[in-house]
């Protein structure tokens, strides 16, 4: 009986080997599918956008297309593309991550000037989510630094969203006082109030909403609205600070991969579609701030007036910001040196 067993195993191995190998050879991909590699909070947005685009493209060209999605932490996703994940388009949380892809020669260094508005069809900003009734009376960035306030934000080293949070706080103080030193002290006192640094934005949301930790959560504006929707607007409310950062999550076509797949036309049409009024409406419905003036006006009630500063105004550009603040030995590390 046991000899039979060995035979069966051998047979199974052979079969599996035989069937496994041809599967590993990539079929010549037609230009009817796209892979969009994105970051975590855009799942809901691209679900709607993809459906709309597929319809739009069908009507325009008669071709039925399929759009595959991959979501994860922005830095991790960028790394996957660098290491061979064949994304036709990337839609990430920050320009630095797409710069890194450009550095490995997968797309042109001038990628950000190829599409309107710095290649960001939608923007967002950083707001506060507090428990209903705002028991700790958190209204401004300064309130986050007060003793006795517990702040939830993810780890800037592993989360793109967390970097925007950090830079928003820093920029607020630096613009207010004109002093980088004061900004550093300020950011330091905020992080003293942070009891847990999750590795991603969604982790922080769960810590705050599901595990009941912290008095205030720093979040993308679109995430804040989603939290109210998913966890109950009777339990949480959004506080918009008077000043915050203009978060610009960029999109780009990955040149080398579209050349390989023959999908450039489709990929470009897909990203350009994001700027159309129809797509801008979907963007606004998902609580991202649309670029299109008409859409912005239509949904003005959803987006409180916040004085927004850009990253470049305060920090020059993403590469410098990353190097000074978040790389090993940078300002963020210094905050935690005892």
């Amino acid at each position: 009986m046991n000899f039979e067993w060995t035979k069966k195993i051998t047979l199974a191995v052979t079969l599996v080997l035989a069937s496994g190998v041809p599967g590993s050879i990539a079929e010549a991909a037609g230009a009817s599918t796209l892979l969009n590699v994105s970051y975590d909070p855009t799942r809901e947005l691209y679900q709607s956008e993809n459906a709309a685009f597929i319809q739009y493209w069908q009507k325009k060209t008669g071709q039925t297309v399929k759009i595959d999605q991959s979501h994860g932490g922005s830095g991790k996703q960028a790394r996957a593309v660098i290491d061979g994940l064949e994304a036709d388009v990337v839609t990430l949380a920050l320009a630095y991550d797409i710069d890194a892809i450009a550095d490995s020669k997968l797309l042109a260094p001038n990628w950000q000037s190829r599409l309107p508005n710095n290649s960001t069809p939608y923007t967002s900003t950083i707001v506060f989510v507090v428990r209903k009734g705002n028991p700790k009376q958190i209204r401004s960035w300064d309130d986050l630094a007060k003793t006795g306030v517990s702040v939830i934000t993810p780890n800037p080293k592993t989360s793109g969203g967390a970097r925007w949070n950090y830079l928003a706080a820093w920029g607020y103080k630096q613009k207010q006082t004109g002093s980088a030193q004061k900004a550093k002290e300020f950011v330091k006192s905020i992080y003293r109030n942070v009891p847990v640094l999750d590795t991603g934005a969604r982790g922080s949301t769960l810590t705050f909403a599901q595990r009941g930790l912290g008095d205030v959560l720093l979040a993308w504006e679109n995430e804040a609205h989603l939290i109210l929707k998913e966890f109950g607007s009777d339990k949480y409310e959004i506080v918009s600070p008077a000043v915050s950062i203009l978060a610009e999550p960029p999109v780009a076509v990955v040149d080398k991969n579209v050349a390989k797949h023959g999908s450039r036309k489709l990929a470009e049409a897909y990203l350009n579609f994001l700027y159309t009024p129809q797509a801008q409406d979907i963007i606004a419905q998902n609580s991202y701030r649309p670029r299109n003036a008409a859409a912005l006006k239509k949904y003005a009630a959803n987006f409180p007036k916040i004085k927004l500063f850009t990253l470049n105004e305060v920090f020059g550009n993403w590469r410098t910001a990353q190097k000074t603040h978040f790389n090993d030995g940078g300002v963020f590390d210094q905050i935690y040196v005892p």
Binding site: R79, N155, V196, T199
Partner: protein
């Protein structure tokens, strides 16, 4: 060089074939891939390497990973021995079901385990609610990491002790009993020394696995720099800066430590077996 060559003539056939395949498969799946860690570290040079692996934050993370993995392994050794003993020696209803559940930590994805523990011990969770009244904080502390690691390492201990315990000849215990030894004496003087190698292997495996565990720990650890940041998280955060060399450097250090630990363990066992022969 003489490595992997038979010492004395052996009459059984198949050494060349089986050893050849072993070395081939081992190289393809383990050695060549693992050597990439080394090859990616080399170009960075000695000084940046030392700098990367001895930064205060990295050192703090080693300390945390090793100490939590150690405590978890000790706890697992006790719980695992107890479980193996009960499962092998006693008969009671539902035993097989419990036996089945021992493997659960292998099958449950680590992320799910992490989420479960973080939820259970959160101030709103089933256990956290009670614990917070006694001022015991589990999540976002080293204790939380130990809890997750105990879960992850538990099956290693049970599954290494179980077969050994099953094969112990009960005649010896009976003999000890006839000679007037108490149960406790028999256990301590006869069974424990016999089970010790398996216990050591099991808890070392649990320990080694604990050092590297990532998925379950990050949900419950809190991840504060210098306080609750584990070593694998340092690797991840270096990778997110696209610092492949730095990540490989930290990985290399972890790998070397784990490897030497296992090597010592295997050498001890080899030596013990020779003693007995």
């Amino acid at each position: 060089m003489g490595l992997f060559q038979t010492k004395r003539r052996n009459i059984l056939p198949g050494f060349g074939l089986s050893m050849g395949y072993t070395v081939f498969y081992l190289s393809a799946i383990v050695i060549v891939p693992l050597s990439m860690i080394f090859f990616n570290t080399v170009p960075m040079g000695w000084e940046p390497f030392v700098h990367a692996v001895t930064a205060p934050r990295v050192l703090a993370s080693y300390r945390l990973s090793f100490s939590t993995a150690f405590f978890a392994a000790v706890f697992d050794a006790a719980a695992g021995l107890l479980t193996a003993w009960v499962l092998v020696r006693y008969r009671f209803p539902g035993k097989q079901f419990l036996d089945a559940l021992v493997d659960l930590p292998f099958a449950l994805p680590t992320a799910v385990a992490g989420i479960c523990f973080a939820t259970l011990y959160s101030p709103m969770g089933w256990l956290g609610e009670t614990l917070i009244k006694w001022n015991i904080e589990i999540i976002n502390s080293a204790t939380g990491i130990v809890v997750a690691l105990v879960f992850i390492g538990f099956p290693f201990v049970v599954r290494t002790i179980q077969p050994v315990l099953e094969e112990v000849e009960q005649e010896i215990e009976e003999a000890a009993h006839c000679l007037g030894a108490t149960r406790w004496q028999t256990f301590r003087k006869i069974l424990l020394p016999h089970l010790f190698p398996a216990l050591l292997t099991g808890s070392t495996l649990a320990f080694a696995r604990g050092i590297g565990e990532y998925g379950s720990v990050i949900f419950i650890a809190g991840n504060l720099p210098m306080k609750t940041e584990i070593a694998p998280l340092m690797i991840m955060s270096k990778l997110d800066q696209f610092d492949y060399a730095g990540a490989s450097a930290v990985a290399l250090v972890l790998l070397l430590i784990s490897f030497s630990m296992l090597l010592v363990l295997n050498a001890v066992q080899e030596w013990q077996q020779k003693e007995y022969r």
